[in-house]
């Protein structure tokens, strides 16, 4: 019983961070209909900024979120205006190639600048945990999860309550109609890409104290984020949150009850089954 609860707990906590990465990707897709295959690299940049601040200035990784989020927001906005914006009406394969290319440029530029050495952000709490009725709860994971929840709630409020948030949602719903209603859809695109990048960066900062950092680390996150977005329903923020946690828990349970080496297999088989049953994803709307 303890083992089951432990697996679910770890799964939910890890899944929270997955969700954050997925939310960023789904936001970008929702507004621009561009799948950002460089999303993992944005997570990687967030990790490197966190590591740099930690090593050079002694900043705590959680504190560095304050720097990572705006930096990545600006970087995302720059990418959107200079590069991604040009392919908004291009063929999907061209958009995919472009974002994959962007990812390669980012990871190789980082490799050139920082070498391929593995970097660690070893804080005093990197392997700390406390006991909760027989369950061991990881401090850094719990903290990351709480930050994720706070960021997600703030994002929901922003999207639901503010005019800009509504404009973003309107653009996601129907770009042309939004434009006809007087919404500056180009600005919304820049905003969405910036927000998506910032969320990816924050996720990177949250992962940094418990993971390791190297230039190619992004690839694994891109794949995971993509699965989360499709599973949750393309463009659905709530769906991505659910899907992230679901994948975290599935992985964790599969590691305990199937086999550690097969946890990804279990995740992808379930993913395929769900797509067969509900092709639009958990909360996706079928588009005509």
């Amino acid at each position: 019983m303890i083992l089951l609860l432990q697996a679910i707990l770890s799964g939910v906590l890890v899944g929270g961070v997955y969700a954050l990465i997925g939310i960023g990707l789904t936001l970008i897709f929702g507004v621009m209909r561009v799948i950002n295959f460089a999303h993992g690299e944005l997570v990687m940049l967030g990790m490197y900024v966190t590591w740099l601040l930690f090593v050079k200035l002694g900043w705590d990784p959680y504190l560095s979120i304050l720097a990572v989020a705006p930096l990545l927001f600006v970087w995302g906005a720059v990418l959107q205006t200079t590069v991604v914006n040009r392919v908004l009406d291009a063929l999907p394969q061209n958009q995919i190639l472009l974002t994959i290319g962007l990812g390669l440029v980012m990871s190789n530029a980082v490799m050139l600048a920082a070498t391929s050495d593995y970097r660690l952000v070893s804080t005093s709490y990197s392997s700390a945990s406390f006991d909760l009725g027989g369950l061991s709860v990881s401090y850094p994971l719990l903290l990351s999860f709480l930050v994720t929840v706070a960021v997600t709630v703030a994002l929901y409020l922003f999207l639901l309550r503010t005019d800009t948030g509504q404009a973003i949602r309107a653009t996601a719903q129907d770009r042309l109609a939004a434009q006809l209603m007087g919404i500056d859809v180009r600005r919304m695109s820049v905003l969405a890409f910036g927000l998506g990048a910032a969320l990816a960066g924050v996720a990177g900062a949250l992962v940094a104290p418990t993971y390791y950092i190297y230039p190619q680390v992004g690839a694994a996150f891109t794949l995971k984020a993509f699965v989360i977005v499709v599973l949750g329903g393309m463009g659905s923020v709530v769906g991505a949150t659910l899907a992230g946690v679901l994948i975290g828990v599935t992985e964790s349970l599969a590691a305990v009850y199937v086999a550690s080496g097969l946890k990804e297999l279990v995740v992808y088989v379930l993913f395929l089954v769900l797509l067969l049953v509900k092709p639009s994803g958990l909360l996706g709307k079928t588009r005509a």
């Binding site: 303890i2 083992l3 432990q6 697996a7 770890s10 799964g11 890890v14 490799m111 391929s116 050495d117 593995y118 660690l120 070893s122 990197s126 392997s127 700390a128 945990s129 061991s136 990881s138 992962v207 418990t210 993971y211 390791y212 190297y214 190619q216 694994a220 975290g248 992985e251 964790s252 349970l253 590691a255 305990v256 086999a259 550690s260 080496g261 946890k263 990804e264």
Partner: protein, 386 residues
């Protein structure tokens, strides 16, 4: 100006040894993971090889080392050896680093009849296929497992053992050898967990192992996963009598430096500076001075491999077939101790290398086994997390 220049050129020409005494440089290939996930270890191999080229030069052997990067991928390693064997016409090839790449390259070395000297890959089968052109300097997987188990069985009476290893050629061959040996030695295997490398979360796997309460936990992983596994072991409170690390990721300076989680972990290694092997301590000091990093065993393995291959190839005049014969016949002594390629117990051209076992004590790797190399007393059992 002009006369002075002419003078300088004349002096330079005259100070060169006569052409006849100076043989044409020996061409050696070197396949390594210089980029990709294994790049941090690959860097050690490259540095070790570079030092060897310098030393060979001092001994009057000019070596051109043609470096090829496989990025940790088998297909790149295969095209690298094809190019080295057919295009570059090298006398011998040193490398590749990973077991997976070596496994892909070995049959091609045999096919192209170019001697391949594997410096650090552990997969058993590499030298078990009767390939006359494939040589291995380091000890294969079963020695990793045997050394670790022999060391802890000399220290205590563990009854149960759990295996956690990445599902790669290296991970599964070391742990398979470990499982067979453990059974022979009467240990009960209570967990057998392969994992996909690079995942951020091993907590569920480790909790599952903790529930079995094993006396020994045997882990095999590359680079940074070792740190992750130990961090998360601490988190979930896994507390066996001993943590056994199968080299690679458990044998890096980074792992050593993480003292909260590395303390009292055992690791098996191909080399340590304090074994008393000729030149081992000097090599470590020189490496540290040059690259400002501590050398791992990979550096020493690559260094020794390039020295051996260079000498053999120079003696054979750069001819691959004669180099093969020189490697098969010769014997050397250096930073890795005595080197001879022998055929025994199903192995072909395998060096009988002895692997020391180290224990991390307060952020420093101390050799604790076998007795002839031991500098410190091992701490056993593991007293628990601080």
């Amino acid at each position: 100006m002009a006369p002075r220049l002419a003078h300088a050129v004349l002096v330079a020409v005259l100070s060169l040894p006569p052409l006849s005494a100076r043989a044409a440089p020996v061409r050696l290939g070197f396949i390594n993971s210089m980029t990709g996930p294994e790049a941090p270890i690959g860097e050690n191999l490259t540095n070790g090889a570079d030092l060897a080229v310098e030393d060979l030069k001092q001994r009057g052997i000019d070596v051109v080392l043609l470096k090829q990067d496989d990025g940790g991928k088998q297909q790149n390693a295969m095209s690298a050896i094809e190019q080295l064997a057919t295009g570059e016409e090298v006398a011998a090839v040193v490398g590749p680093y990973t077991s997976a790449s070596s496994n892909a390259v070995a049959p091609l070395a045999q096919q192209y009849e170019v001697p391949l000297l594997i410096p650090a890959a552990a997969k058993e089968e590499l030298t078990r296929a009767g390939r006359s052109y494939v040589f291995r300097l380091n000890a294969p997987a079963h020695v990793y497992a045997a050394s670790l188990l022999d060391a802890v069985l000399a220290l205590g009476q563990p009854k149960t053992i759990a295996f956690v290893y990445e599902s790669t050629d290296f991970g599964s061959s070391v742990s398979n050898a470990g499982k067979q040996l453990a059974q022979k030695k009467g240990l009960e295997i209570v967990a057998d967990e392969a994992y996909q490398k690079g995942a951020p979360d091993y907590r569920s796997t480790l909790s599952k192992i903790k529930a079995q309460n094993p006396d020994l936990v045997f882990m095999v992983s590359y680079v940074a996963d070792a740190i992750l596994l130990m961090r998360q072991s601490r988190e979930v409170g896994l507390k066996p009598q001993a943590f056994l690390g199968g080299g690679a990721g458990f044998d890096t300076a980074q792992f050593e430096a993480e003292r909260t989680i590395s303390n009292l972990v055992y690791s098996v290694t191909q080399w340590t500076p304090d074994t008393g092997w000729p030149g081992a301590a000097e090599f470590a000091a020189r490496y540290q001075a040059r690259f400002r990093k501590k050398p791992t065993y990979h550096a020493a393995c690559a260094y020794a491999a390039v020295l051996v291959a260079g000498e053999a190839a120079a003696g054979a005049g750069g001819d691959p077939k004669k180099t093969r014969e020189a490697l098969a016949r010769g014997s050397w002594t250096g930073v890795l101790g005595p080197v001879r390629f022998e055929s025994f117990d199903g192995f072909t051209n395998q060096n009988r290398h002895v692997m020391p076992v180290v224990q991390y004590q307060d952020g420093k790797a101390q050799t604790v086994w076998p007795a002839q190399f031991a500098k410190r007393k091992a701490v056993y059992p593991f007293p628990g997390w601080k």
